[in-house]
Amino acid sequence: MTSGSKTTTRRREPAEFGGTGGKRHRPPLVVWVPALFISVALLLPPVYLAVRSLDGGFGEFAETVLDADTLLVLARSLLLALTVTLATICIAVPIAWLTVRTDLPFSRAWAVLAALPLVIPSYVGGFVLISALGPRGMLQGSLERFGVERLPEIYGFPGAALALTLFTYPYVLLTTRSSLKNLDPSLEEASRILGVGAWKTFFHVTLPNLRPGIVAGGLLVTLYTLSDFGVVSLLQYGTFSREIYIQYRSAFDRTPAAILGLMLVCLTIAILLVEGRSRGRAAYHRSSAGAARRHVTVRLGGWRWVAAGFCFGVVSLALLLPVGVLVFWLVRGLLGGESLNPLWTAALNSAYVSGLAALVAAACAIPVAVLAVRFRGRMSSAVEKLAYLGYALPGIALALALVFFGANYAPWAYQTTGLLVFAYVIHFLPQALGATRAGLLQVRPSVEEAARGLGKGPLGVLASVTAPLASPGIMAGAALVFLTTMKELPATLLLSPTGFETLATRVWSATGEAFFARAAAPALLLIVISAIPMYLLTIRDGTADEKKERGSE
């Protein structure tokens, strides 16, 4: 069934932005020129790392790369990334299915709540997990009367994997939910009509069709895990990003850190190549025009409450626990007479730069996604992959690359909001890209062709047909970039205009000096502000569905 639609679409592909004759395969100017600029920008950090890596000569380079410790770090990074990715899929796919397809009690509420842990900065989450679940943390304290003296160590691999899983599974949840909603119900119906059982249908029909969604979310999780510094450093697990930080912090010698960064870039390329193979050439838009119909709701029966319990467990650990601890810190501090500094400036600054980053990233993602989806080729896939490199790099490596570039080659931009937003966009473009790409995959090329046939130019088609139709994906991407930017720390510290403070820098500055009450207030505000786009996104998503359903009934 899917294969049929594949062939038809592929044959049509080159035409939609509409060259004629021999030029059919070339993308229009409005697509490839911006994409080219974006690629050049994306190349800045890796090029910087390569130059720095060879500072100490090839000898030092080879020595560092082949060092036994480096290989251990490589193994640890891979193990953590793999574990976290699998764990997030195991959590997110069931929740996605339960909230979209079943009569799970309060399913709308779970859909929103389960997505929200994404707004918790991982350095805050890590800190909170330690103080709550550490060997003698709050949980142990409340269990003491039952004779629990100590909980098992949370430090090291288990704690790092747990924390990263809890605060990144929403990436997979969001992408899987949207794939599930857009899945043509006729496929599953056909399977059931042919007498295939519900489980078998899920594993053989539904799951394979969800693959692009799961893989897109999983890729974000994998690369986030590789780049995250907060969790692995608080929980003491030596991955690439932690080693890179240690090198920068301790030795002020940027060469070894750059070499490790470059290795991380290579690792990312390897992961992207594997991912690219698994993605294949499938098309996921519907082959025919119909079918925005209601999916059959699966009745869970007695399992309803088990399912709700599962959702409750995940949400408690990933959302209620961190928020609860932050509120506890805040109240304790306020009762202790701690006065709070006003947060307006920091909050406005955070929202302002995050909003700009989200807008610019969404705008940049469109040409790259169009290129990747409609004009597949070596160049388009290279640009797309390039975008993911900046995402996997730890913020410190990216930020120093831009410090070097800015101070030496663009002093007019150095320490301006412009360069800061530029850094965010390079860093988080893949989040916008993934969602935009998914949105675009579901727009049928024939609609674009029709607009082209009616005399619209390529830019017109892009602006008035493609972008609006793909807008749910574009908006989702922008929302993701917004809330990731809200949390970002190293690039903000190093690249923002002098004197510019955000909620994230306030949290950082207060926790570093053990002012927990003062850290709790900006952290909570940060969570609240980021929750708004997240909430709108999941709610809007839900109502749109309902309208669609009502309309078709």
Binding site: A251, G333, N341, P342, A346, W412, G499, F516
Partner: protein, 355 residues
């Protein structure tokens, strides 16, 4: 272009509000000069905006800088960040740095920056009031407040009598599984550098290996180490002295940890400094000097003694009564300028698998 102009407006609002308390007072004077700085691209232009890269947090030094702005009328812009990250930034920026002053949390970072010839020699007006053990030998940086290393211990499980005289004794097997430390932390590394300097490379290595054999729990920084000690996760932790006072203030007197100062000129009771130097690329040498003069003045030193519980670097300052006076601590006799060999320390830490 749009982005650049937005940058200016947010610089102003960000700068004025940087610590909240006196933000409004500074803002009228801030506006035009800040605008000039932003359109000048942040490069050190000839205007009188003083740019400080501060590795000390806004929570700690924001108020005293605000007081200075108020009293002097000079416009000061502070870039807060991590001490080491800002040092790396300064090294990347080189002569193009917009910074006039580097205010660091430890002497080692100042050493690394001055090693690259980025700092100027300070005049006597700044150096002479300060205890000469707390300034750099070449006069390229000055200590602004003192920070003592201590052993934080859990008060439920231990009393001071249970603790050994010297930090070197923590290699004893009786401490197996009871120690917390933060080897990635700058202050800890400065302490190890001091240990190498005072007792020699071999003793330092033996000590690291000995503690390592006692399976210490590794923490991220002083804060997390101290919290773990108070919670009883470990019995002792190697930290700086003032984190305790912060915790007492916020969490109350029943906070479960206290400070212990090893005796006998022990490296475990090293007094290090937070300090500052002036970048030689700065066009504001005079303003920068005036600022540092103020930071070592009685008024500023009294602030550090009262508000951050750190040690003043000049004589005649009344310290907080909860603070063990500097005279009563047996600090090792050491030239802090020699604490810049972080590279050697890092090698040792990696060689002993501590890092």
């Amino acid at each position: 272009m749009l982005l650049a102009s937005c940058g200016q407006s947010s610089t102003e609002s960000g700068g004025a509000g940087s610590s909240g308390d006196s933000g409004s007072t500074g803002s009228s004077g801030t506006e035009e000069s800040t605008g000039a700085a932003a359109s000048g691209g942040g490069s050190a232009t000839g205007d009188d905006t003083l740019v400080i890269y501060s590795g000390r947090s806004a929570e700690l030094v924001g108020p005293i800088i605000d007081t200075y702005i108020e009293e002097s009328g000079v416009d000061v812009q502070v870039r807060y960040g991590d001490t080491a990250e800002l040092a790396a930034t300064l090294l990347e920026e080189g002569q193009n740095s917009p910074a006039d002053i580097y205010f660091a949390q430890d002497a080692g970072a100042l050493g690394a920056v001055s090693e690259e010839d980025l700092l100027t020699e300070l005049p006597d007006s700044i150096l002479s009031p300060v205890d000469e053990r707390l300034v750099s030998e070449e006069g390229e940086w000055v200590g602004i407040s003192g920070r003592a290393r201590v052993v934080a211990y859990n008060t439920e499980n231990l009393t001071e009598e249970d603790l050994p005289e010297s930090i070197l004794d923590f290699t004893d097997p009786e401490w197996d599984g009871r120690i917390g430390w933060a080897p990635t932390n700058g202050s800890f590394q400065a302490f190890v550098t001091a240990l190498r300097e005072i007792e020699g490379e071999d003793v330092a290595r033996e000590w690291l290996e000995g503690v390592q054999a006692n399976n210490p729990t590794v923490y991220e920084d002083n804060t997390t180490t101290l919290e773990a000690v108070a919670a009883g996760e470990v019995d002792v932790g190697f930290v700086n002295h003032y984190y305790l006072f912060r915790a007492l203030e916020e969490q109350g007197e029943d906070f479960g940890a206290r400070n212990y100062y090893p005796t006998g000129g022990d490296p475990g009771a090293l007094v290090n400094v937070a300090g500052a130097g002036i970048l030689n690329s700065s066009d504001n040498q005079e303003e920068a000097q005036a600022f540092l003069e103020y930071m070592v003045s009685e008024e500023a030193q009294q602030y550090f003694a009262d508000e951050t519980y750190e040690y003043p670097v000049i004589e005649g300052i009344e310290t907080n009564e909860e603070l063990v006076p500097l005279e009563e601590i047996d600090t090792p006799d050491i030239d802090l300028s020699n604490l810049d060999d972080l590279e050697g320390t890092l090698e040792l830490l990696q060689g002993t698998n501590v890092l």
